[in-house]
């Protein structure tokens, strides 16, 4: 009994202390928990805007949590438990749309919350079409594409997406992501479906069968990956001839780690990554996050990020400011997925289609995998 009262008393004191502290220092919280993907991408965010921000506000601390991969599930659990501990969460656009629909992410007015471009263009015009959801604050454009071992493909390196499905010309294992998204589209493209019709075909059960039948032709030679680091490791090991992953990972393998790997940009699939603010933050934490996010997504900061990783900045006004790699000193523009040379044949990921069909096609894909 005595122990319980002591415990209660001490926690009450701690609680009161925290409140008093928040009041005494204006109405902004001093700590932020930022959620991201880990690895080189998180490092680029840290260098481009988190460290500069902390440098400007010496009394603020930021903690990273590498939980973006399960952000949707964790935010749901936090919401149910009534205890949201995250302040800013980095997610892909599709997850942002889901979180927004479920009311787990806060809706924002881009022009009010985000900084305008240096020339005065409003934030909503500067981000343009990339504001795919009312809750989503885009940071980067990335693409999912293929890398291949230059020493394992003979004299004619692969140049078309359909070379992935060509086991005769390029024998050996390839790695694909363990989910239907992107793989189904690539399969249909290589089965003779025109680019404009891919999603119409994929909406029908016959089209889904067709895509799986095409994937079936290489199934025995596929290693399925689930983490972005898998394909780079497999390529470095020489376990696979070619494999899909995020273009920034391949840049790191090729330019930073100097592995005998090259990019296959054909039919790369663009996607977006950005911040969401969890719904229901207390006022002091919300004020801090708003202050941070305005700084972190301005034109200069997004351009700075491209010094560390080969993902395209989401703002139009940042594009001309893309410079050289911070350590290697090479021009980053030719490594961007949006560079005209790389973007000769790109594929646009259809958010609405996958929002509607994902569960259904996922089930079929998993059943096919288990066969």
């Amino acid at each position: 009994m005595k122990f319980t009262t002591t415990l209660l008393a001490s926690s009450a004191i701690v609680g009161a202390g925290t409140l008093a502290f928040a009041d005494a220092h204006g109405n902004m919280a001093k700590d932020m928990t930022l959620v991201s993907w880990g690895g080189a991408y998180q490092a680029s965010q840290d260098k481009a805007y988190v460290q500069p921000y902390l440098g400007m506000h010496s009394d603020v601390t930021a903690v990273w949590d590498e939980s973006s991969a399960e952000a949707v599930a964790k935010l749901r659990a936090m919401n149910e438990a009534g205890n949201v501990t995250w302040d800013l969460v980095d997610v892909v656009a599709a997850d942002a749309i889901r979180l927004c629909d479920e009311g787990l992410a806060m809706e924002i007015d881009a022009d009010e919350v985000l900084a305008a471009a240096p020339d005065g263009t409003s934030a909503s015009d500067d981000f343009g079409d990339l504001l795919v959801s009312d809750c989503f604050i885009p940071q980067i454009v990335y693409s999912t594409t293929f890398g291949y071992r230059t020493d394992m493909v003979g004299d004619t390196p692969p140049s078309k997406i359909c070379d992935v499905f060509d086991l005769e010309a390029y024998p050996g294992k390839r790695s694909l992501e363990k989910r239907p998204i992107n793989n189904m589209e690539w399969a249909l493209l290589c089965d003779g479906v025109a680019k404009a019709d891919v999603y119409d075909v994929l909406a029908t059960p016959e089209g889904q069968e067709k895509a799986l039948a095409k994937l079936d032709t290489i199934k025995d030679d596929v290693i399925w990956w689930s983490a972005g680091a898998d394909t780079p490791q497999l390529l470095a090991d020489g376990e696979i001839v070619m494999g899909s992953t995020y273009n920034g990972r391949l840049f790191s393998v090729i330019e930073e780690q100097k592995q005998p790997v090259a990019m296959l940009w054909d039919a790369q699939v663009f996607d977006l990554d950005g911040w969401i603010i969890p719904a229901g933050l207390p006022a002091d934490r919300l004020a801090r996050v708003m202050d941070f996010v305005k700084f972190a997504t301005d034109t200069q900061r997004l351009a700075d990020q491209s010094q560390y990783i080969s993902y395209g900045p989401a703002r139009l006004s940042s594009a001309p400011m893309v410079g050289k790699h911070a350590d290697l000193g090479i021009d980053m523009a030719p490594h961007m997925p949006t560079d005209p040379n790389n973007a000769q044949n790109t594929f646009l990921y259809n958010y609405e289609f996958w929002a509607d069909y994902r569960d259904d096609i996922d089930a079929k894909f998993q059943a096919w995998l288990a066969q």
Partner: protein, 392 residues
């Protein structure tokens, strides 16, 4: 060693097939590594069988034959795979040279009892081979990690430079990474702060619970025991999810205290079980004797009972410590990024970025574990010696 059994030379029809069978197994490994297991089995069997025949029937001089085999096979290995091939080849050559004569001379019977049937002799050696194989399967994954942690590349790959023992292929950079990265150092400190606190709580509560539950007059002893050891039986993910929702409501989620309490709950069953086991051998009349001489219960516990059950308490505490130090599931739920422990950091590192820094950490942890266990074992022997329980 004096032979227990008189030995005699064996017929060709016996030892050549046996040597061939051993060669087939070795061939399976070499063949699989080079693309065809089946071909490896056949070639291995033929070479080993022919070698056994050649050595015993044609060369006959044992010393010369064994040296020649070792050198020739090592040369073939070097030709096939460079310096690593040389070492593996030398080991193979030495083994098959020895094995051929061992069978031919009948030496394998020398150290087993004379009355054993051939089947029993076979089992005698098969048993040792199986034990050795289990040992190899347990230990190899750990051993592979160690050289890889000195990789100069940022991948889990044995590079050609590493395989040819070129110093340029090795580096300490992943160890530097570990010691210079604030993420890793933060994780180490969190683990060091959490594990001892959780162990202390587990040992205190677990020992008290075990002593209480070993009293005859406590009602519902079995039911209470079952509840207390349930964290060990219920799947960890269930405990973790339950703790997450409960701790969120009482404000413990994402706090240092919350993680310590969660880990203490996981560690208590180990302490209860080990202490209960040592209490079985504890003579209750000693506590009555102490009471008779005027000691109060607390003094009795610390002066009489505790020293006698100490081995159980220590090993329970060791288990509780390792549980907390190795635990990743519960801390992912109950902790927040501020309580990122070493296993958590390794888990996310492995998923998001396959970096040999993880291997460097693993190597350091294996080293620490070996040191800890060695120290504990030495202390145990010392105390046994002091108490006169062991002859030396």
């Amino acid at each position: 060693m004096v032979a227990l059994t008189p030995i005699s030379r064996k017929p060709v029809s016996f030892y050549v097939p046996v040597a061939a069978a051993a060669g087939a197994i070795a061939g399976l490994f070499v063949g699989t590594a080079n693309g065809s297991g089946f071909l490896g089995v056949i070639i291995g069997a033929i070479i080993a069988g022919a070698l056994a025949f050649l050595l015993t029937q044609i060369v006959k001089n044992e010393k010369l034959g064994r040296w020649a085999t070792t050198i020739i096979v090592a040369g073939v290995g070097y030709f096939m795979a460079g310096i690593p091939g040389l070492i593996i080849g030398a080991a193979f050559g030495w083994f098959f040279g020895w094995f051929s004569f061992w069978l031919y001379e009948g030496r394998y019977r020398a150290k087993v009892a004379p009355y054993l049937t051939p089947g029993q002799v076979l089992w005698h050696f098969a048993f040792r081979v199986i034990c050795g194989a289990i040992f190899v399967f347990l230990i190899t994954p750990i051993l592979v990690v160690m050289p890889l942690s000195f990789n100069a590349e940022n991948f889990f790959t044995f590079t050609p430079e590493m395989l040819s023992f070129d110093p340029a292929g090795y580096s300490l950079k992943h160890y530097r990474d570990f010691f210079n990265s604030s993420d890793w150092q933060g994780a180490v400190w969190n683990s060091i702060k959490i594990a001892p606190a959780a162990t202390f709580l587990s040992v205190s509560f677990g020992t008290l619970a075990a002593i209480g539950l070993s009293q005859q007059h406590v009602p519902f002893r079995r039911a209470i025991m079952a509840i207390l050891i349930s964290p060990m039986i219920v799947p960890l993910i269930i405990s973790a999810a339950g703790m997450y929702f409960f701790y969120s409501r009482v404000g413990l989620q994402g706090t240092y205290l919350g993680v310590v309490l969660a880990h203490a709950a996981l560690g208590i069953p180990f302490v209860i079980i080990t202490v209960t086991a040592t209490l079985v051998g504890f003579d209750r009349s000693l506590t009555r004797a102490a009471a008779n001489m005027g000691a109060n219960p607390v003094t009795t516990f610390f002066r009489v009972q505790m020293p006698l059950i100490l081995p159980g308490v220590i090993s329970g505490g060791l288990f509780a410590f390792i549980t907390s130090f190795d635990e990743v599931v519960v801390v992912l739920f109950v902790g927040s990024a501020g309580q990122k422990t070493l296993p958590w950091q390794m888990f996310t590192g492995l998923r998001e970025q396959i970096s040999p820094t993880i291997l460097a950490v693993a190597t350091i942890l294996v080293g620490i574990s070996i040191c800890l266990l060695t120290v504990v074992e030495l202390l145990r022997r010392r105390s046994e010696r002091l108490r006169g329980m062991s002859p030396t």
